[in-house]
Symmetry: C2
Subunit: 129 residues, 2 copies
């Protein structure tokens, strides 16, 4: 005789949300599109590395020069994280010395509008102190 | 004789970025608009609570019913975090029993397009497994 809410579409379809079962989830799941995106952006420096690569492909050294207080270790970690998340690719260019270039994948380039939306909200909003 | 990059506008203005000194920051800062937004969204359940409040004002009990596996303690924490971030307001409604309603502030409602942008990217993108 208890009221069933789990596993039953007892809520009306929520207006303004994508017509997708994941928009109706009632607990956090790594498959939720919002979580996938936040996971890709996670970590200090991550959005700054993406910002640099939105401008142009970069070598490790160029990234270090653009972000001078970022350590080699953290930059390596962030590049590995973003590669694993499908956001960037590394490629070896011919020539001497051989240099590895980092570039955004098509999915990585689509993060441009996402960062813009995050920027726009934060720029309008000063949290109460 | 070293190449100066810090504290000197040696980079050309980066195309595609907002014309704002913060768009040129070279290290993470809590004043960066992107960081302000990510800080507001931080924490498991946070985006789901915002999603519920984008639909309508809710009481604590209504939020608990919409998100049945969310504990009272975590919901209280998230509501306090979002209030502090200027995303939501609480108001006492007349009547008996007195009930506290949670509603989004104007800034909170402007998170709708931000969550949509996060959703859209994650929905298009399946990270390589």
């Amino acid at each position: 005789m208890t009221h069933q809410t789990v596993g039953h579409p007892s809520h009306p379809l929520r207006p303004g949300l994508p017509d997708d079962p994941l928009a109706q989830v009632t607990e956090p799941t790594p498959h939720c599109p919002v979580e996938i995106t936040l996971a890709a952006l996670r970590g200090r420096w991550t959005t700054l590395v993406i910002r640099e690569l939105l401008q142009a492909d970069r070598t490790f050294t160029e990234l270090r020069q653009a972000l001078p207080t970022l350590s080699d270790k953290v930059l390596s970690d962030r590049l590995a994280h973003l590669t694993e998340a499908g956001v960037l690719d590394r490629s070896r260019r011919p020539g001497w010395p051989p240099r590895t270039h980092y570039s955004l994948t098509p999915a990585g380039r689509r993060l441009g509008p996402v960062l813009q939306a995050l920027w726009d909200w934060g720029a309008q909003h000063q949290p109460p102190s």
